[in-house]
């Protein structure tokens, strides 16, 4: 979970009445995005319990970092839905308006993963991508589940 300091890396889910918020933090934008993806998985299942058996490459482009976060999470949701996967590890590189990422995961196994919800889509609610006063980056939004 989250810790303080400019070098802190971490993720958490946060409360929303109907749905669930996902938040990632890191020393740079890309690591905050990777952590936000872990928070998305945490809304569904325990990320540490997901094996890195297959990798999926993701490439997206958006006019601003907030839209890029929504696109990144929505692509992960789409890949999970169409491939029947859950992801437990992420790598992200961001260059200007372009994100190139890789997600590692495995086919969802309900008895083992105990998936609590199905993510429907990332929303613009509580959407925030920003550098905090302490220097770390935060990337968050509410996900409809």
């Amino acid at each position: 979970m989250m810790a303080g300091g400019a070098s802190a890396v971490g993720y958490e889910t946060f409360s929303h009445e109907a749905d669930i918020g996902v938040r990632g933090c890191g020393p740079d934008l890309a690591s905050a995005f990777a952590q936000a993806a872990l928070a998305l998985t945490a809304a569904i299942t325990e990320p540490a319990a997901v094996a890195a058996a297959v990798a999926v490459d993701i490439d997206c482009c958006a006019p601003d970092p907030e839209l890029l976060l929504v696109d990144w999470l929505n692509r992960l949701i789409y890949e999970m839905a169409t491939r029947g996967l859950v992801f437990g590890r992420f790598e992200v590189a961001i260059d200007g308006d372009r994100l190139r990422g890789r997600a590692w995961g495995e086919p969802v196994d309900p008895p083992r993963h105990q998936p609590a919800v199905e993510a429907k889509g990332a929303t613009f609610t509580e959407l925030r991508v920003a550098r905090e006063a302490d220097g770390r980056w935060v990337a968050q939004c509410v996900v409809d589940v």
Partner: protein
């Protein structure tokens, strides 16, 4: 000057935030004092946002089960006039387009089911794909996908899933006009390819219920509900197709809004003019998703019928009604004495036509539209009937469920799934689910008091209570 977001009390069950600042119309909340006190302040902010959108007519309405959503609150009703610059909002419909409830009678009393209830719960759990990653038995190729998106439950019946009699008891007779499968993206179709006939997860369910209490014997009889009878309620939506359409159009509307001259107070309110290419495209795709949801509930119904046939072959599952509670529908309403054609967003709200409405099946016309209210696993559900006053109160709308009172995080921290299953079992309610954590997040204590919600809806003139249903068995994703 700061906005005054605390609502003014108008009556026992009506509250109002006067139009101010950027608001074009007031916000109206139908709820008891206790329900209003429990509302998250974010609901007021979201209502004010909705009330500020171009072309909104009357007010931004919140139903008694309203809670904090994304963009529009859950439990919101808002009508827009295309001739007055009105808009359509993908976030105002929600990702789970046409999520809804259908209730079926079984023709059996509880006594005939009681001894077979465990076997029935197991058979239903086995027959109906539910939960993350589940797939349906019907995999659609491109042509079948388009036919399903154009035909809805009518397509499903044509394919042998149910009978023509089912269609009479579905909103729009099972198929909404104006669907444009060609405007549904390849990604949305791929996401749906193997998801038809699946329940989903989260708050979706299939419940076997007993009619526990009647509030109006004549209307109950017209709806086929008798005391002690066993019924089945199914709560699910348009599955991956709707989710993807919502995702894509929400983004497109965020990007396009400035070009349409729409200043969004928050991007979550993204919308497009009804009379714009993007607005029209969304309506066409959204209607295809409504048909997808109607087909999906029809397939799940047929799976439930097969499961019943194995365990209780004497059961006859017949529809009471099928209502959607995440839609934008084109309707004619009386506004200040004149008819206006509006596009009514109901997000977590149910259409509730009063007696005599021409869209109702003839058998229901004297009584008003059945309004199906899903409660929590423990507390039960309600069947209401639309009231004449609802037209003037909230564009003929009512609540849709209990509404959450606690976040998923809080619920999961507070209750273990096993605890919830065991506690419900002690009360005679069988729960079958793929995820104990999912059950914990849906614990009855995480929801508002559904009895208070429907009492407020009735007192406000939105819909009146007809029958209360209590759960006997619940199938969760």
């Amino acid at each position: 000057m700061a906005m005054q977001l605390a609502p003014e009390r108008v009556s026992e069950v009506e509250w109002r935030i006067p139009a101010q600042g950027r608001m074009r119309v007031p916000a109206v909340i139908y709820a008891s004092e206790a329900l209003v006190r429990a509302l998250d302040a974010k609901v007021y902010e979201q209502l004010v946002g909705v009330a500020s959108l171009p072309g909104i007519v009357g007010a931004a309405y919140a139903m008694p089960d309203a809670h904090w959503g994304y963009g529009f609150p859950i439990g919101d009703v808002a009508g827009f006039d295309p001739e007055a610059g009105g808009v359509v909002s993908a976030g105002g419909v929600g990702f789970d387009i046409s999520c809804g409830v259908r209730t079926l009678t079984t023709g059996l009393p509880r006594a005939a089911v009681e001894s077979r209830l465990d076997a029935l719960a197991d058979a239903l759990f086995h027959a109906i794909p539910a939960g993350l990653g589940s797939t349906g038995a019907v995999v659609l190729d491109d042509a079948a996908m388009d036919a399903m998106l154009a035909g809805g439950a009518c397509w499903a019946v044509d394919q042998g899933f149910g009978t023509a009699a089912d269609l009479e008891r579905i909103e729009a007779q099972g198929c909404i006009a104006g669907a444009r499968p060609d405007l549904v993206s390849a990604r949305a179709k791929l996401r749906q390819r193997a998801e038809l006939g699946t329940l989903g997860s989260g708050n979706h369910y299939l419940e076997v219920q007993e009619v526990a209490e009647l509030y109006d014997a004549a209307t109950s009889a017209a709806f086929g509900l008798v005391p002690g009878a066993v019924v089945v309620s199914i709560h699910c939506g348009s599955r991956g197709l709707g989710h993807q359409i919502g995702t894509e159009f929400l983004r497109a509307m965020v990007v396009a809004a400035p070009g349409y001259g729409i200043a969004l107070p928050d991007r979550e309110l993204a919308c497009a003019p009804l009379n714009s290419p993007l607005g029209r495209d969304y309506l066409g795709a959204m209607r295809a998703a409504i048909n997808c949801a109607l087909a999906n509930r029809q397939l799940v119904t047929q799976l439930a019928r097969r499961a019943f046939a194995k365990v209780l072959p004497e059961a006859r599952l017949e529809l009471v009604y099928d209502v959607s509670h995440n839609t934008c529908q084109e309707e004619v309403h009386q506004i200040e004495g004149r008819e206006r054609r509006l596009f009514v967003h109901r997000k977590g709200a149910t259409r509730a036509f009063g007696p005599g409405h021409p869209e109702l099946p003839a058998a229901y016309r004297p009584w008003g539209q059945p309004v199906l209210i899903g409660g929590s696993m423990g507390t039960g559900s309600y069947v209401l009937a639309g009231m004449a006053e609802s037209e003037r109160r909230a564009l003929a709308s009512a609540c849709h469920g209990a509404g959450r009172s606690m976040s998923r995080n809080q619920a999961a921290r507070r209750w273990g799934g096993r605890l919830v299953v065991d506690e419900l079992a002690r009360r005679g309610i069988r729960v079958r689910g793929h995820s104990l954590r999912g059950v914990a997040e849906e614990a009855p204590g995480a929801y508002k008091d559904v009895a208070a919600v429907v009492a407020a809806a009735e007192a406000a003139g939105l819909a009146r209570r007809v029958a209360r249903l209590v759960p006997l068995a619940c199938i969760k994703g």
